[in-house]
């Protein structure tokens, strides 16, 4: 029991742990800004202001035709080109996610310890830990390199191709899905697994029908969210030369054709919104029963 005096004095302490942490963070931010010579005025100097206002003015007036005049023979009109680019962006994302889902499930299983026997022998224990640690290491490696850098690596190795784009997204995404999947599996109630074991199920059956089956709503929710991320990643891969909608945004931007840029951006935004709404409706249906359980 603290005495009355101690309670009083703690009230007037100036440097509580929280305050000192905030102070250190603020000081670090300031030092970084000075070191990088950040100057907000720089944003508006030179052509900055004009380019920015041109860019945002074009938002109200997206292009329906090429700004250099109508397309020549053998060229798709702007809107067809944009739609095709968006479709390709979608296809890359879908293919990459299909591969990542398989990779993520394998990683997620190997990186989880929910299926481990309760009292493993010495040798089994060593094997299990080796699997666990090497899986964690592979997952950490694959996702600590950004998909853009994987993209550059594969483009250098096998050239500008669909395979390079798909693999570039699939590698880090397998790692991320695997990490989250293994955590979801480990967070599942161990008593479901135990109950099935007590009913005579093998460890494998109990894991699949107890733990994995129980985790399906969470696994699916996270996969849908990652699909949205994959769409964005697929678009961004255009900036290193893969022919997605990002490639067209980059090319039109280089020529200061801001109205074309906005056409592409709007199509990307619309598709992102549709995917987001669809994901939300799936989540709502999945979680409807969970919500009902909470009300009860």
């Amino acid at each position: 029991m603290p005495s009355k005096f101690e309670i009083q004095s703690s009230k007037f302490r100036v440097l509580t742990p929280r305050r000192s942490t905030l102070l250190v963070l603020a000081a670090t931010g300031l030092v970084c800004a000075i070191y990088l010579k950040l100057n907000p005025a720089q944003l508006l100097s030179g052509d900055g202001w004009k380019i920015a206002s041109d860019f945002f003015a074009a938002a109200l007036n997206p292009a329906l035709e090429y700004e250099d005049g109508p397309a020549g023979a053998g060229w798709d009109p702007l809107l067809v080109k944009a739609a095709k680019g968006m479709l390709r962006t979608f296809q890359y994302a879908l293919m990459a996610m299909s591969i990542s889902l398989i990779g993520g499930l394998i990683f997620g299983f190997l990186g989880s310890h929910r299926w481990w026997p309760r009292e493993p022998g010495r040798i089994t224990k060593i094997i299990l830990h080796t699997i666990y640690i090497s899986t964690r290491a592979v997952m950490a490696f694959s996702r600590s390199i950004h998909e853009l850098i994987w993209g550059l690596l594969f483009i250098t190795a096998i050239g500008l191709s669909a395979e390079a784009a798909v693999i570039a997204i699939a590698i880090p995404y397998s790692g991320t899905l695997g990490k989250i999947f293994s955590e979801i599996l480990d967070e599942q109630n161990p008593l479901t697994f135990q109950t099935l074991r007590d009913t005579g199920a093998s460890a494998f059956s109990a894991f699949l029908f107890g733990t994995v089956a129980g985790a399906i709503p969470d696994l699916l929710t996270y996969t849908l969210y990652r699909f949205e991320c994959a769409l964005r990643a697929s678009a961004v891969l255009g900036f290193v030369g893969i022919e997605t909608i990002g490639y067209y945004i980059f090319a039109s931007g280089n020529e200061l054709h801001w109205r074309e840029v906005w056409t592409y951006l709007y199509i990307l935004i619309i598709v992102m919104i549709i995917v987001d709404r669809w994901g939300a409706s799936v989540r709502r249906r999945l979680n409807a029963h969970t919500a009902a359980a909470c009300i009860r």
């Binding site: 109630n189 099935l196 007590d198 093998s202 107890g210 089956a213 129980g214």
Partner: protein
């Protein structure tokens, strides 16, 4: 029906230094219906898990349907477990699955992997009828296709009982089956378990806080406290003093829990 279902002699169990059972000897015959009564932490759950061969005993011998649990290999243990339905206190339902799927999981220990997968994903008409029958028996047949998470506590309890029925066990063991429902529902669950056991001549062991229910429904009551059996009698032979003593916890016991 002759012979013993469960036979424990001088069993001691410790979990992380905490004594769960301190020298328990108990014999339950096939077809008997027994209530285990006593305050929480007295070793009832451990006892039920020993009966279902889910828990390795620490010392002493545990015989389950005539066989020494200590000598069973993992295959034999699984076979024994598949013949004994243990309904844990938390029920152990997979809440993301539907009711019929949870009931189908009752046979998970009796079947090979592909046929379990089939009964979860594409159950045959005959099997659905069988599951429907089990749900009908516990009074919630209309919930066949409902997600278990949307069921009330009482309905989830009945789902767990239906799962135990579908398992076609020789014994049903229920750990505090009435802890999460109101008194009227508690009574109906206890009555249901007794009816089912009598109907199919199953061995029934139920751990109960509610001494009144134990007294009215079970021909034999085992009173436990601090890992030891205090009495083991028919309800009419148990004096009120014995009952009050069972729950008359000392100050240290109250703080321990």
């Amino acid at each position: 029906m002759k012979g013993e279902a469960f036979d424990l002699s001088d069993v001691h169990c410790h979990f992380q230094g905490f004594p769960a059972l301190g020298g328990v000897s108990l014999r339950i015959n096939k077809g008997e219906r027994v209530a285990l009564a006593g305050p929480s932490g007295c070793g009832k759950t451990t006892l039920l898990r020993l009966f279902s061969a889910s828990q390795a005993s620490c010392t002493g011998s545990v015989r389950v349907f005539g066989q020494d649990a200590a000598t069973m290999g993992s295959r034999e243990l699984r076979r024994h477990r598949s013949n004994i339905a243990l309904i844990p206190q938390n029920l152990g339902l997979v809440t993301s699955l539907r009711t019929y799927q949870n009931v189908a999981l009752g046979k998970i220990g009796k079947r090979r992997f592909p046929s379990v997968l089939r009964s979860i994903l594409f159950p045959s008409k005959a099997e659905l009828r069988q599951i429907h029958h089990c749900l009908e028996r516990v009074g919630i047949s209309e919930k066949l296709y409902q997600s278990v998470a949307t069921l009330s506590g009482g309905q989830q309890q009945r789902t767990a009982v239906a799962r135990a029925l579908f398992q076609e066990p020789q014994a049903i063991l229920a750990d505090e089956p009435v802890s999460s429902v109101d008194p009227a529902r508690a009574e109906s669950i206890v009555a249901l378990l007794n009816d089912l056991a009598e109907e199919q001549s199953l061995t029934l062991a139920v751990s109960l806080h509610n001494i009144d229910l134990a007294r009215r429904y079970f021909p034999r009551i085992v009173g436990m406290r601090a890992g030891k059996i205090i009495f083991d009698k028919a309800p009419k032979d148990i004096s009120d003093v014995e009952f009050t003593d069972l729950y008359n916890l000392s100050q240290t016991e109250l703080l321990d829990d």
